[in-house]
Amino acid sequence: MAKTALKAGARFKSTVCDTQVMVVKAPAGEFELRCGGADMVGATAPAAAGGTLDPALSGETLIGKRYVNADESLELLCTKGGKGTLSLDGVALEIKQAKQLPSSD
């Protein structure tokens, strides 16, 4: 499986569902970023030949939600929802709690 560097602001898309994400923050190094069990590709990459969604990894992504790993060193923003589960190096990512509201604007 392909490892890739994750840079803040980079966008990726799933090859097995509609999910798209943007990297909000990420640790240095290269990782396996997957959705629905398949490697994600750069958002501007040509459409990949249709892979299949692993039914065991179809936990769904929701637009607007943030997804983090256990120590929250990785944070992805879901910019388009889809059927697959996001994972980093084989570990599923979790939804981060919503931000508190500002005290004024």
């Binding site: 980079a10 637009i63 607007g64 923003l77 910019t79 604007d105």
Partner: protein, 445 residues
């Protein structure tokens, strides 16, 4: 271009009423001052300009606030809004919080005008953790503080900045306005008002300023207003100046529900069903993800559902977040002042919020009187744009002439004032004070 001695506020009130299919039955209660003096005397002039120099604004925004309140007063019980100075409402948060004009920085300090390679934008970092999104927005590591942001923005193109920022949920505005607009959408019909045997029950799901001001004004008209907050994410204004939170929320009852679970959501559904008016300012997808369809609920329960947003409903704009300062920039206020003075400046203090609150109260009351069953969408940007366009001189030369003339009027008048705030009528209830009481009472409705 007209230089009328104030009928502009009256004309605006009549225009709003006509767009609701209504007319005033008695003469409208309006301050008889020139729009330029409304601006200088209500505190907005003190809130606009560089730290050295307060500035006139060449369109009658303060007078439009007067007009909106007069239209609301005309539909409500006689005398219920007496003593409220609508123009002063636009500046009262600054009076309480001690905000001052800061040139290209908003009086509250969170919003700035920034120059990109091909134009101006406003960025509002209202939440501290918005700063954490900036490396992803600009795709580069940044030195802390605004200087690094400004330097990175200067090298980039507006369209790409705005697209990437909106994906991240940043409050961003292109200073160059795109469209002409109406103050509200899904027009209220011209249905004759129904006889109503009791004041409306209002469920206010909003936070901060625009929605709470709407509920506050409706309460002054006699409505029973319930402020509903999530126990997880209460109104952030609770952490702001208490005098301002009290001013907006005293007299409302407070209900707090855990909206993560089925029980809290069922309770919310019950309260919506019992309400006459819902005031709501979340992004539509947030409600949809919780299983609430605002349009369907409005039809089913004959509600007037007031949907407040930065840029309106529908894709893609319903995803874009906005606060009062950046929405005002998006409406073209800073661009207008730039054309009139050559300076890129923020206008007022989150002025889109109180202007929207005033218009929302009018739309809510009129919708309730017409029998409900509709969703009314008010976008902060569009409300401000509607006020801006109502009596705007055409062309830059006319705009500069208006600016000079109105500035001269304010100088000759000499009675420019700092922002003033009303005193709250009591204190706002603590979070959730009336949860059980309201759920029981409204369940019986």
């Amino acid at each position: 271009m007209s230089e009328r001695e104030d009928p502009i506020a009256q004309a605006y009130a009549e225009h709003l009423l006509a767009s609701l299919g209504r007319q005033a039955e008695a003469s409208l209660a309006l301050p008889m001052e020139h729009p330029a003096l409304r601006w200088s005397r209500c505190g907005l002039m003190a809130l606009t300009g560089t730290p050295d120099t307060p500035l006139m604004f060449p369109a009658p925004l303060a007078a439009c606030a007067d007009g909106a309140l007069a239209a609301l007063a005309a539909l409500g019980p006689a005398g219920a809004l007496d003593g409220i100075d609508a123009a002063a409402l636009l500046a009262e948060r600054a009076a309480i919080a001690g905000h001052r004009r800061g040139g290209d920085v908003s009086p509250g300090g969170a919003c700035r005008l920034l120059r990109a390679a091909d134009g101006w934008l406003a960025l509002n970092l209202a939440r501290d953790d918005d700063w954490d999104l900036l490396p992803a927005w600009l795709e580069t590591e940044l030195s802390p503080g605004w200087e690094g942001v400004a330097a990175a923005v200067r090298e980039r193109l507006l369209e790409a900045l705005i697209e990437q920022g909106r994906l991240l949920g940043l409050a961003l505005a292109d200073a160059q306005p795109m469209t002409d607009t109406v103050p509200w959408q899904r027009g209220l019909t011209a249905a004759a008002p129904m006889a109503r045997s009791r004041p409306p029950r209002i469920l206010d799901l909003s936070s901060l300023w625009a929605g709470p001001l709407c509920g506050h004004l409706l309460q002054r008209l006699g409505a029973d207003v319930v402020k509903l907050e999530s126990t997880q994410r209460p109104d952030g204004a609770r952490n702001g100046p208490p005098a301002f939170f009290d001013l907006m929320n005293a007299g409302k009852r407070s209900v707090a529900l855990d909206l993560r679970g089925d029980e809290g959501r069922a309770q919310l559904r019950g309260l919506i069903a019992a309400a006459d008016i819902v005031i709501e300012a979340s992004r539509p997808r947030a409600l949809r993800q919780m299983g609430f369809d605002a349009e369907a609920l409005a039809r089913e329960h004959r509600l007037t559902w007031i949907s407040l947003s930065g840029y309106g409903r529908g894709a893609p704009q319903e995803q874009w977040i906005a606060y009062g300062d950046d929405a005002a920039v998006a409406a073209g206020l800073s661009d207008t002042l730039y054309r009139a003075t050559g300076q890129a400046l923020i206008v007022g203090d989150a002025i889109a919020d109180p202007l929207t609150g005033l218009h929302a109260a009018l739309a809510a009351w009129a919708g309730w009187q017409a029998g409900g069953g509709m969703l009314v969408s008010l976008a902060l940007r569009d409300v401000v744009r509607h006020c801006l366009q109502f009596d705007l001189p055409g062309g830059d030369e006319a705009l500069r002439a208006r600016q000079r003339h109105w500035t001269g009027l304010a100088m000759a008048d000499g009675s420019a004032r700092l922002p003033q705030a009303r005193s709250a009528r009591g204190t706002a209830p603590a979070l959730g004070t009336h949860t059980a009481e309201v759920i029981a009472e409204w369940a019986a409705c």
